[in-house]
């Protein structure tokens, strides 16, 4: 203070509890951030692990090549389409005879039984909308049938739903656990600060002076701890992304660190810190008597 520090910035009360509380805040925000990682990273992670899903639209014999080209061009403009390829009857036949079991059958059949088709690979993000894609393809002139890998899609969607709901449960529990730890840390700081500010109030300090102190002692550590936690999680995300450690241990790649979680952590830190600061000052203001 005499060296130029503002009076509200000095730390007059030695408090091991306050120091321990700052560590608690850091741990709490790390848990909260890890839960955010699961919550926000899960959708992208699931999409990235989806196998390619292909719909096949069979084209009638009367359709002329120009119409097929128009159809391919139209499919390419659809949001569900990631890749489209025209497959002639000969190509389809050539693919089929690569299979030993099918070859015997096809040779016995004699002529080429395959129809021309348009193979559409669905974008990973559009797999849930495969029915819409199927209906759209069916409506195209000249399309006689659409083959959908129904059983595989059903298994995929059900499996993902299970993973998603489990991930969501883990994320919510993690966020609650993190917030509880943060709350514990802020309560420790608040309890010691309340005594300190009661002394300030006895000396005649105004609300602004007490608020400045409360922001310094409560809000600042909460915000700094959330920033440090976000930086640690960012670095952890980078390390996991570029290290082969997970693959060496046969662990599938974890979701990428969602960068918007940085802002959420910061926002949570600011909100928790401000609320705690205001709460402590109000606790002092309403204290009258023993």
């Amino acid at each position: 203070m005499s060296g130029g520090t503002a009076p509200w910035a000095v730390s007059p009360v030695p408090s091991k509890a306050r120091r321990a509380a700052i560590y608690l805040l850091g741990v709490g925000w790390l848990i909260f951030g890890a839960a955010l990682w699961v919550k926000l990273g899960m959708p992208g992670w699931l999409s990235s692990r989806r196998p390619p899903v292909m719909l096949e639209a069979f084209v009638g014999e009367t359709v002329i090549p120009y119409q097929v080209e128009s159809m391919v061009a139209a499919v390419q403009t659809q949001p569900f389409c990631c890749e489209v390829r025209f497959v002639s009857a000969d190509e389809a036949h050539a693919e089929a005879v690569k299979d030993e079991r099918a070859r015997t059958l096809l040779e016995a059949y004699g002529s080429n039984p395959f129809l021309r088709s348009i193979r559409v690979t669905l974008c990973p993000t559009s797999i849930e909308a495969f029915r819409d894609a199927e209906v759209w393809l069916r409506k195209q002139p000249g399309v006689t049938a659409v083959r959908v890998p129904e059983a595989m899609l059903q298994r995929l969607i059900e499996g993902e739903a299970l993973v998603r709901s489990s991930g969501m449960a883990v994320a919510i529990m993690g966020m609650l656990a993190g917030l509880l730890v943060v709350l514990g840390g802020l309560s420790l700081i608040g309890a010691s600060l309340e005594d300190e500010l009661a002394g300030w109030a006895r000396l005649g300090a105004g609300t602004g002076q007490m608020m400045a102190r409360s922001l310094r002692v409560c809000a600042l550590p909460a915000v700094l701890a959330s920033v440090v936690s976000a930086v640690i999680l960012e670095l952890a995300g980078l390390v996991l992304r570029f290290s082969d450690a997970l693959a060496a241990w046969n662990i599938p790649p974890v979701p990428e660190w969602p960068h918007n979680a940085d802002w959420m952590l910061l926002l949570a830190g600011v909100t928790a810190g401000l609320l705690a600061s205001v709460w402590v000052v109000f606790a002092v203001l309403r204290t009258r008597g023993r």
Binding site: M1, P12, W200, L203, A205, G206, R288
Partner: protein
């Protein structure tokens, strides 16, 4: 200056005291008499709004303490200095402790800096300015607390530190204290003004049922 009107305080089912009446005017020194647990410190706390009476009211400069909002109460508190050995801001240096007390009392930062070192000097502790407050002896803390209470320029000083004037204070501090009284300041203390202040005329205010005595 300070008035207790029909003040009573109940602790649980038991009355600490009831119907306590007393008025202390500017330039007066009064000491509260009463045995241990009689409620002397409670009455001192009531004067700065840290405790509320169960019955009656406490007035400082005609303003009811218990009915004042926080902002009004803080304005009143800035005109009052409490001298009590319970300050917990103890790891900061002596001069920082002094600055904090003055700053909370409404002095701006420039005034705070100017007055703090002067107040520490008047307590005779200039050489200990940078020593942590907690490392000072009881007598040194008493001198500092009294010096700070005067540096805040109050009009009412509440002293809840029995036997404080039996300590050997620097003469300048006693001169300052006498000057505060002669300039119209009021003092309420628990315990008699003995030692260096034994010649000061003070009236006793008893917490016994008989009320004030000469």
């Amino acid at each position: 200056m300070l008035q207790y009107l029909h003040v009573g305080k109940k602790a649980g089912e038991k009355w600490l005291f009831a119907d306590f009446n007393c008025e202390i005017r500017g330039g007066e020194v009064a000491w509260l008499e009463g045995g241990p647990g009689a409620g002397k410190s409670v009455l001192v706390d009531m004067a700065i709004g840290m405790d509320v009476p169960t019955t009656g009211a406490v007035f400082v400069d005609s303003a009811s303490i218990s009915k004042s909002g926080f902002a009004a109460l803080q304005r009143i508190r800035r005109g009052i200095s409490l001298v009590r050995d319970d300050d917990r801001f103890d790891v900061i240096s002596t001069v920082e402790w002094m600055e904090l007390g003055l700053w909370c009392g409404g002095k701006n930062r420039e005034q705070t800096r100017a007055f703090a070192r002067e107040a520490v000097s008047r307590a005779g502790l200039r050489d200990l300015s940078d020593v942590p407050f907690c490392d000072l002896s009881g007598g040194q803390r008493a001198a500092l607390t009294l010096s700070r209470s005067l540096a805040r320029k109050p009009h009412l000083v509440l002293i809840d530190w029995p036997g404080i004037f039996d300590l050997n204070f620097p003469p300048q501090l006693i001169v300052d204290f006498r000057q505060f009284i002669t300039e119209g300041g009021a003092v309420l203390m628990t315990g008699k003004p003995g030692g260096q202040l034994s010649d000061v005329h003070a009236r006793a205010v008893s917490l016994e049922p008989k009320g004030e005595s000469a």
